[in-house]
């Protein structure tokens, strides 16, 4: 009965079905756009030169967020220093050297697992290994190392995908001209895959820049009266600062909270947009 009814009205069913699906998509996407616009509108009035270049004062209730901006910048750079070479090398191994055997499958499984480990567990690991065991203390170094291991799976998988997209004949021709395997990889394959790799690197760093949980016990400081002087100093960071001022400080002016959220959002969005632009440009330019 029902089947026959549905069959007779199958175009009505389709129309209703499509409407429902479209609605779910709208309900998924609109809040994202809404969130971004809302933070822009609410936060923009807090932005000023003093806010961006000043130190917090009066228990964070006044002044700027300069040390947090600088801290997030340092952490992102630090993460890049460790995760970019290691991640690209690992991707080169998986795409150019590894044969499809038990060990390679184990590596892939490890990467999938790294990607799934909760961020706060990375924080625990960083505390156990870098802060306490290696005695780096609560420092930029410990936090950046923790963040780089967390970023690694993103860099590896996107870079590998980019490397694999380079057509096989490129390699064959280069090798047949007498280049060694490494020369081929460095001068041909890596060069061709560069935009894709860059996209992956930026997306990975974007995640690292916005994370709070991994740096909670490895490098983030509640408040510092001066900028960190060396990699062994703790640092303030934008995400942690936002967490602190929105939950830990009583009578925090709402303006500064929205302003901080906006700066963090702009930091992350800029990286995201750069990555997207690089990717779409490379796609448009590609001749193969």
């Amino acid at each position: 009965m029902v089947t026959r009814f549905l069959a007779r009205h199958r175009y009505t069913v389709q129309r209703i079905g499509f409407a429902v699906i479209t609605l779910t998509a709208i309900f998924t996407v609109l809040p994202i756009i809404g969130t971004i616009i809302y933070i822009f509108v609410k936060g923009i009035s807090a932005i000023s030169v003093e806010f961006l270049t000043g130190f917090p004062s009066n228990g964070m209730r006044e002044g700027g967020i300069y040390p947090a901006i600088v801290g997030t910048f340092y952490l992102t750079i630090g993460t890049a220093i460790f995760s970019v070479p290691l991640g690209i090398a690992a991707a080169v191994y998986l795409s150019e050297y590894a044969s499809n055997n038990k060990w390679t499958r184990l590596i892939r499984l490890a990467i999938v697992n790294l990607a799934g480990i909760p961020s706060v567990v990375y924080g625990l690991f960083g505390l156990g290994l870098f802060v306490l065991f290696l005695q780096f203390g609560t420092s930029i170094l410990a936090a950046a190392l923790t963040l780089s291991i967390m970023t690694l799976p993103v860099v590896i998988s996107t870079a590998e995908e980019a490397l694999r997209a380079v057509p096989q004949p490129f390699r064959t021709v280069s090798i047949s001209l007498g280049a060694t395997r490494w020369q081929t990889i460095r001068r041909i394959v890596l060069k061709e895959a560069l935009p894709g790799i860059l996209t992956g690197v930026i997306l990975g760093l974007e995640r690292a820049a916005g994370e709070t949980a991994p740096i909670l016990f490895t490098g983030a400081a509640f408040f510092l009266p001066q900028l960190p002087q060396s990699p062994f100093d703790a640092t303030m960071a934008l995400p942690y600062h936002l967490f602190v001022i929105s939950t830990q400080v009583p009578e925090m002016p709402i303006q500064i909270q929205y302003g901080t959220a906006l700066v963090l959002l702009v930091f992350v969005l800029t990286m995201n947009i750069i990555a997207t632009v690089i990717r779409s440009r490379a796609r448009a330019k590609r001749q193969w």
């Binding site: 175009y11 389709q14 499509f18 429902v20 699906i21 479209t22 609605l23 779910t24 998509a25 309900f27 998924t28 996407v29 809040p31 994202i32 969130t35 290691l86 090398a89 690992a90 191994y93 998986l94 050297y97 060990w103 590596i107 490890a110 990467i111 999938v112 697992n113 790294l114 799934g116 480990i117 909760p118 961020s119 706060v120 567990v121 924080g123 625990l124 690991f125 156990g128 065991f133 690694l152 590896i156 490494w182 997306l203 995640r207 916005g210 709070t212 949980a213 909670l216 016990f217 995400p239 936002l242 967490f243 929105s246 939950t247 909270q257 959220a261 963090l264 959002l265 969005l269 995201n272």
Partner: protein, 298 residues
Amino acid sequence: MEKSLSWREFIITRLIQGSGYSAILFVALIFFFLLREGLPTLREVDISSLLNVRWYPIESYYGILPLITGTLIVTIGATLIAVPFGIGTAVYISEVAPRWMREILKPIVELLGGLPSVVLGFLGILVMVPYIRLFMNLPTGLTAFTGSLLLGAIAVPTVVTVAEDALDSVPRAYREGAWALGATRWQTIWRVTLPAAKSGVLTGVMLGVGRAIGETMAVMMVTGNAPVMSLRLNSLFSPARTMTATIAAEMGEVANGSTHYHVLFFIGMMLFIISMIVNIIASSVLFRSKKRAERILS
């Protein structure tokens, strides 16, 4: 010259190989350090008090059951939100939307995946919490339900991206076959495309659930952080405290090497094992589908 070149080649190859294997090393290191700091728990606290309903570390009550139920409630809620919206959006992007729409929607959904969870938690506190308190007429808006809503939103992009990938890789011939037999596009989606992409969609759901279990900051900021044990239906609308939030909230204040410190690492160890199980299942589902696709192609 010839010789130095081959030496360089040899060293570089070894370095690259080492980097490849480093992923295994890191997983092993993480597990080792969690065990090293977490296992002393079993010596210091006996199992019966660990599997208790009271979490009150100041007076040495280390019952982790309320934290587990907290994680469970919030994650189930998040899954109930993320699955329909995630799969719905994936189907829309892959099967219904016109091409230009797809090009706009995909980066936006990816953007949601990149938004820092602390920003979402911040907005949760300021926007969602007061409204939920008002509409549901609750004493506080900091509830497990609020956490579920937010976590659902955080898990959606994972589900969408993976599921959309799976739908997209269903060969066009499948759909054309269905259309040729007189099926509408809607019937094709439900009876041909989605079943064909089933394993990939399932992987997306698994990974989304994994993301929800592991999410820390947003959940800590909006769930009210009350380690209360209850599994009744209305516990969804009272404050809760997840495993991740407990670690994040308390680790900063404990003395290194104390029992409390070890118990927090023990919880981290449990989270690690849970995420490992989720990911192994998810990736084995993925592998199976790949093999089937290869079979079809050959």
